[in-house]
Point group: C2
Chain length 404, copies 2
């Protein structure tokens, strides 16, 4: 088999752990597989570098930020290649550029546009273990770019797709994907298998085992992904295409996200195109909007528009919204950061009704007020007060009998 193995920051957090990773890689090779390893920066390293940058500038250049941050993965890739060689196997470390990971020019959250992978394939053919510095690519203008937080997951999945790997293993410090956060619900159960769609919802809703865009990519190119721990030999959770068996499970998991802020533009005179104008401006500011709710006043003349954005983007989103609010003649703009989003996820919802109402009833029975609701085919999300997050997760996990 041709296997891509990605090791996160804690898995390569010190020299002993890097040696442990090399041991796993070599074991996989000795079982007859060809292996591409993708590594993150040693844990703490990226935050240290960000700390340096913020000590120097309140708004450091994003191009320079990428050059700064990409150095951490280069270090681990070189060290990991050395560790594999120390165990008697040939290994080569490659940067994003050397691996041919071409991105757009949006620094600090670049999108992969193309992966040539020529050097990877050649090195594999020559019997090398390839160790790739994750999280980074190179833009058309020959500048180093990074793929955003957790970008090494994306590097791994994208490379797996480019070289047509049989499996992409994401090694982390947890055993796999759980029905919910075991720190909140000790009875949370590890899932053996989960569909791309469910994983995508879980990831975008704050479950930190896989970066959202890496799941999108895996889903789009049908890359089989396994999430497992680098600290034991437990089998992990397989992320694959939806199958019959999955459809029989109505709800697979409960997710929560405390990193959203809610912005409301109040009493904007309602006319066609106001939402388009607002969200175009927000998008132009490179802010990703999650939930959107619009209410029309009873006389139909005014509307309130609420939406959520990542807390880190609150300031930027607020600036843009206030500008637009003035142009549209709205009354004011409100902001709330003490919220969280709770979501119930499951592909079985497509064929089973009643999930949403059960969720609302459960929250109501526990006196948890719902501020916003949004639904998709396989998910129901509610925005609630931040302080009720853990309670909501616990009661929903129980209501949907996820502990089994």
């Amino acid at each position: 088999m041709l296997i891509v193995q990605k090791y996160g920051g804690t898995s390569v957090g010190n020299i002993d752990r890097i040696k442990n990773v090399a041991g796993r890689v070599v074991r996989t090779v000795e079982q007859g597989n060809r292996v591409v390893v993708v590594v993150s920066a040693m844990s703490g390293e990226t935050d240290k570098l960000i700390g340096f940058a913020t000590q120097i500038s309140v708004a450091p250049s994003e191009r320079e930020m990428d050059m700064l941050l990409s150095s951490g993965e280069r270090v681990t890739s070189a060290l990991t290649a050395m560790a594999v060689e120390a165990l008697g196997h040939k290994a080569r470390a490659f940067t994003g550029r050397q691996a041919g990971i071409m991105t757009d020019t949006v620094h600090t959250k670049a999108r992969i546009e193309k992966i040539s992978g020529d050097r990877i394939r050649k090195a594999l053919d020559e019997g090398y273990v390839v160790v790739l510095a994750g999280f980074q690519g190179i833009s058309e203008s020959e500048d180093v770019t990074t793929l955003g937080r957790g970008g090494s997951d994306l590097s791994a999945v994208a490379v797996a797709s480019a070289i047509k790997a049989d499996l992409c293993e994401i090694y982390t410090d947890v055993d796999g994907v759980y029905t919910t956060d075991p720190n909140i619900v000790p009875e949370a159960r590890k899932l053996e298998k989960i569909s791309y769609e469910e994983m995508l919802e879980l990831a975008s809703l704050g479950a930190k085992v896989l970066q959202t865009r890496s799941v999108e990519f895996a889903m789009k190119y049908r890359v089989p992904v396994v999430v497992r721990s680098s600290f034991n030999d437990n089998p992990g959770t397989l992320v694959v295409e939806e199958d019959k068996e999955m459809e029989n499970v109505v709800v697979s998991g409960i997710a929560y996200d405390k990193n959203q802020a809610k912005i409301t533009i109040v009493n904007v005179p309602d006319k066609p195109g106001i939402a388009a104008q607002l969200f175009q401006a927000v998008a132009d500011a490179n802010v990703v909007v999650d939930m959107i709710v619009q209410n029309i006043s009873s006389d139909g003349k005014f509307a309130d528009i609420s939406f959520t954005v990542p807390k880190t983007d609150t300031r930027r989103a607020l600036e843009v919204t206030e500008k637009i609010a003035k142009e549209l003649g709205a009354e004011r703009v409100d902001k709330r950061e003490d919220i969280s989003k709770i979501s119930v996820i499951g592909v079985g919802m497509r064929t089973h009704s009643g999930v949403a109402s059960k969720m609302f009833q459960t929250l109501a029975a526990n006196n948890i007020n719902i501020a916003m609701i949004s639904t998709s085919e396989i998910k129901v999300s509610c925005v609630i007060d931040l302080k009720y997050t853990e309670l909501a997760v616990r009661v929903l996990h129980e209501a949907f009998k996820l502990a089994l």
Copy 2:
């Protein structure tokens, strides 16, 4: 003026010092100059990374070593560019590759083959301060290479030459070039001016203010260099072409080098070509030989050949020499590491005689035995017992009246 400023590891050793460097850069720009900054890794950083590598492998791959070590300069270049921008000037950080520094493929001590410098010139034309990650380049095979210890000096001089800079300022933690090490001789005097040739001898003899190859490069392409401190505004030492004034000074400085080992191949049957065979083999092992002395026995049948190599290369040189010694039928190979080399340097020697004999007399008068002698047009070097190093430097500094 177009000025290249190189800042060493201690000058960028922490965030405050990086800000201090940015202040100096901005001051230079505001005086009407265009500036290219070349930075080393933060002091201690390179050694930390080397420590990681040696914990992992006794003989880490040199290609991976270069990827590892080059990361330190990337970090400082990005941070320095941010710091310049924080002071209100446009700045761009460039890696060795982005600056177009092409090298050969000899990892860990690559030689610069070509500098395109297109991006540097373009950025300067657009009004940017250019901040270049020193010490690194890119080989034909698109692999990161490093230029050896102190390689950032070479980056600076080479870039200065490529972009035809008016001046290359090397900022370090000392005020300039001294007649000898002030730690040994407190009366040592800072030189206002020194010729490339003298600087080259001083550098290759262990004075640590400038890397040897950077001086060779500066001499070859006539790049005017100033060595000065980043911690004060003292004028430093100008390294330039020899002039009349310099020739009147017979001796400019005393250097010492404790990092050499002496290898002797004893009683090798003398025939044409033995030296060639030996030193070809040593060169093939990538070991740079410094002094060479050959004695023929009184009957002309046997020869002893002694030579010195950097201590770090002793093991490799010894292996090669022992193999050759066997082939040539030599009696044995000896090694001594408790030696040092003391040198007296001055372009005035070309026109004044008696320097060598004065040196030998001075050493003899202090009971210091001479193990090897080598001379050049502007230098006399003696290998002596390591323990007499400081004594020899002091008495020679006095004998040649360098304190003035």
